[in-house]
């Protein structure tokens, strides 16, 4: 009696053995493991794809901006103190040209009253919202416009009734091709369409315009020579300086009646607003992940119920409560991690596919991948905790009796 012997000490499970016992359920019920992993995968894929697609579109914007340049400033008349539409002086362009860092200046002047129709037979009321602009020859170079069909105006055609259509204007007028027979009626005069522009990213207002040369506009359409919008390109490094003096230079008498804007800012703002929408989608992805986590928890609860005999056997073989708990927690984590890894791959695939089909660069940020995997592990741990604790508290004899 009372003889002390060294107390038995349970052996620690090695990390590899934890992994082995954790994978038992996955190996014996692969379909179930696949389906509950799929729930996690869909949630993670949704989140990674949302982040990836919005990052890709951001990268695309950066690429476009660096191609278009962010050094374009536009000058347009604002409103006077009395709330009337202000006007720019006719010599605004010449004055702006004298600002040192300004490299290029171009302008359009809206020809008020010169309505555009496909033919003389169109009722006068159906103007289609198209404006006529008297344009400088260097306009496309300054705003970065490119031609879809035909050519831009040149020194010869600007004197004659020749017109170039903006992308929207061409669509509304139903002009597909250019040629001597393609004509539109501008202010009651027939103009031959010599070119059609691509959409202009930095000056979207030009898309619904019809462009004619200044000489012909003054001669045939009563153009007053006042520019309505000036486009300037400046040295990038001195852009803010230029911006500061632009209004006063354009209209020294009333600088407050001049609006100066930087179109690339507007594009970035648009991007930011779509970012807000992406955050909403991210929330939807998080809900999907949560549902996936509930699926894993459900699978684990069922697994523990079904595998009572195995749990009893393991206890008989010498597994401690902690080791049983570890086993089921490891299984839950494995299940989630596999689902998460699959989800990241799926999300990256969706992003790449979408980016390729949109002609964007494909970007999946590393933080999204790491964050997605971390989220799955968290979900796996939370989902597995209760079933694992339940498994560890099964009495060995009861568990063995449940055969």
């Amino acid at each position: 009696m009372g003889v002390r012997r060294p107390e038995p000490v349970p052996a620690r499970l090695r990390a590899r053995d934890v992994l082995r016992v954790g994978a038992v359920g996955l190996r014996t019920r692969p379909l179930r493991a696949f389906l509950s992993g799929l729930g996690i995968a869909i949630g993670i894929a949704a989140m990674v794809a949302v982040v990836g697609i919005s990052s890709s579109s951001g990268a695309e914007l950066d690429r476009r901006l660096s191609a278009l340049g962010t050094n374009l400033l536009t000058v347009s008349p604002g409103t006077s103190l009395l709330g009337e539409q202000a006007q720019l002086p006719a010599d605004a362009e010449a004055m702006i040209e004298r600002i040192g860092p300004v490299r290029q200046v171009s302008s359009v002047g809206e020809v008020s009253g010169a309505k555009v129709y496909r033919s003389e037979r169109i009722p006068e009321a159906q103007t289609g919202g198209i404006s006529t602009y008297a344009a400088r020859l260097d306009l496309p170079a300054t705003v970065g416009a490119t031609l879809r069909h035909g050519t831009w105006l040149n020194a010869a055609t600007e004197r004659y009734p020749a017109a170039v259509l903006g992308a929207d204007a061409a669509r509304r007028l139903g002009v597909g091709a250019v040629g001597p027979e393609t004509q539109v009626v501008v202010g009651g005069v027939r103009f031959t369409v010599v070119g059609v522009l691509d959409p202009v990213a930095l000056a979207a207002e030009l898309d619904s315009g019809v462009f004619v040369g200044r000489p012909v506009a003054e001669e045939r359409l009563g153009f007053d020579g006042r520019p309505t919008t000036l486009y300037t390109r400046s040295d990038e490094s001195r852009l803010e300086d230029v911006r500061a003096v632009l209004a006063a230079t354009a209209n020294p008498q009333a600088p407050n009646e001049v609006d100066v804007s930087r179109p690339s800012d507007a594009l970035a703002a648009k991007q930011a607003s779509s970012q807000a929408f992406a955050n909403l989608l991210l929330g939807v992805g998080a809900v999907a992940l949560l549902v996936g986590g509930v699926g894993v928890a459900n699978t684990m609860v069922i697994s523990v119920l079904e595998r009572r005999a195995e749990i009893g056997l393991r206890r008989a073989l010498g597994a401690t409560r902690g080791q049983v708990r570890t086993q089921f927690l490891a299984e839950s984590l494995l299940l989630s991690a596999l689902g998460g890894a699959g989800g990241v791959l799926l999300g990256a695939g969706v992003t790449t596919g979408y980016a390729l089909s949109s002609g964007w660069p494909s970007v999946v940020p590393a933080w999204a991948t790491a964050g997605g995997l971390a989220a799955t592990l968290l979900v796996g741990a939370v989902a597995g905790l209760y079933p694992a604790v339940r498994a560890s508290h099964l009495s060995p004899t009861e568990a063995l009796a449940a055969t």
């Binding site: 003889v3 012997r5 107390e7 038995p8 000490v9 349970p10 052996a11 620690r12 499970l13 090695r14 590899r16 053995d17 082995r20 016992v21 038992v24 190996r27 014996t28 005999a309 195995e310 009893g312 056997l313 393991r314 206890r315 008989a316 073989l317 010498g318 597994a319 401690t320 409560r321 902690g322 080791q323 009495s395 060995p396 004899t397 063995l400 055969t403």
Partner: protein, 247 residues
């Protein structure tokens, strides 16, 4: 310094609801014994095996396994005791499906703290020992009932435990396979393992050196109590005196 392998003193096990599965049982099984426990269903023999195997704790009384007082050990220490000192064999084998015989046995050693290579080596040896050296790569569904039980026995003895507890090891087998399993258990006993077998089969029980009969949670007869069957070396009059109180 010899301890009995199993020593139960006034052990009772009462389940919630007041059912007494064991009522003040005292029993001593020495090292190297081969014991049959017989009795009808509900006689408490499985409960006694669970208590002796430390899978269940008694409601009252003292259980000593290889000298350890079970009541002084916590759950983790009991688990460690089971991992090193006790092997279990069940009627329904409890083998993992779609896992080879070798891995089934090796998996049984995972809680002893051995590395994987060592586990597999010992598993192979154990399977060799039970006569299944040619079936290492077979999965349970490819084995006969007798072979499955041999795999389960190999798993139980692979860690070299001094005590083997078998609950109806031949219950799911035909008589030929059952006889084979009993031969194996005899062999294991001959090499020193203490073995306690629960069985319904009177014939099998009769073939073992010591029989303990149970009914209604008590021991009704113990062949070791009769002086001519002195299978147990140590316990003298005092030890036997404990049984006399049991009806």
């Amino acid at each position: 310094m010899t301890y009995p392998m199993i020593e139960l003193t006034d052990v009772s096990r009462t389940y919630p609801g007041g059912v007494a599965a064991l009522a003040s049982v005292s029993l001593r099984i020495g090292h190297g014994e081969l014991v049959a426990i017989v009795g009808p269903s509900g006689s408490g023999k499985s409960t006694m095996l669970n208590v002796a195997g430390t899978l269940d704790r008694p409601s009252s009384g003292t259980v000593r396994i290889d000298g350890y007082d079970v009541s002084e050990l916590d759950d983790d220490q009991l688990s460690a005791l089971r991992a090193t000192a006790i092997g279990f064999v069940f009627q329904s084998f409890h083998l993992a499906a779609r896992v080879t015989a070798l891995d089934n046995v090796a998996e049984g050693l995972i809680y002893t703290g051995l590395g994987r290579a060592e586990r597999r080596e010992r598993a192979a040896q154990a399977l060799e020992r039970v006569g299944l050296g040619h079936r290492l790569g077979h999965e349970p569904h490819e084995l006969s009932g007798g072979e499955r039980q041999r795999v389960a026995i190999a798993r139980a003895v692979s860690g070299g435990p001094p005590l083997l507890l078998a609950d109806e090891p031949t219950g799911a087998l035909d008589s030929v396979a059952g006889a084979g399993v009993m031969d194996l258990l005899h062999e294991l006993n001959a090499s020193g393992t203490t073995i306690v077998i629960i069985t319904h089969d009177r014939e099998i029980a009769a073939g073992l050196p010591r029989q303990i009969a149970m009914r209604d949670g008590t021991i009704v007869s113990d062949s070791a109590a009769e002086p001519e069957l002195g299978a147990e070396p140590a316990p003298a009059a005092g030890g036997h005196g404990e049984w006399s109180g049991v009806r």
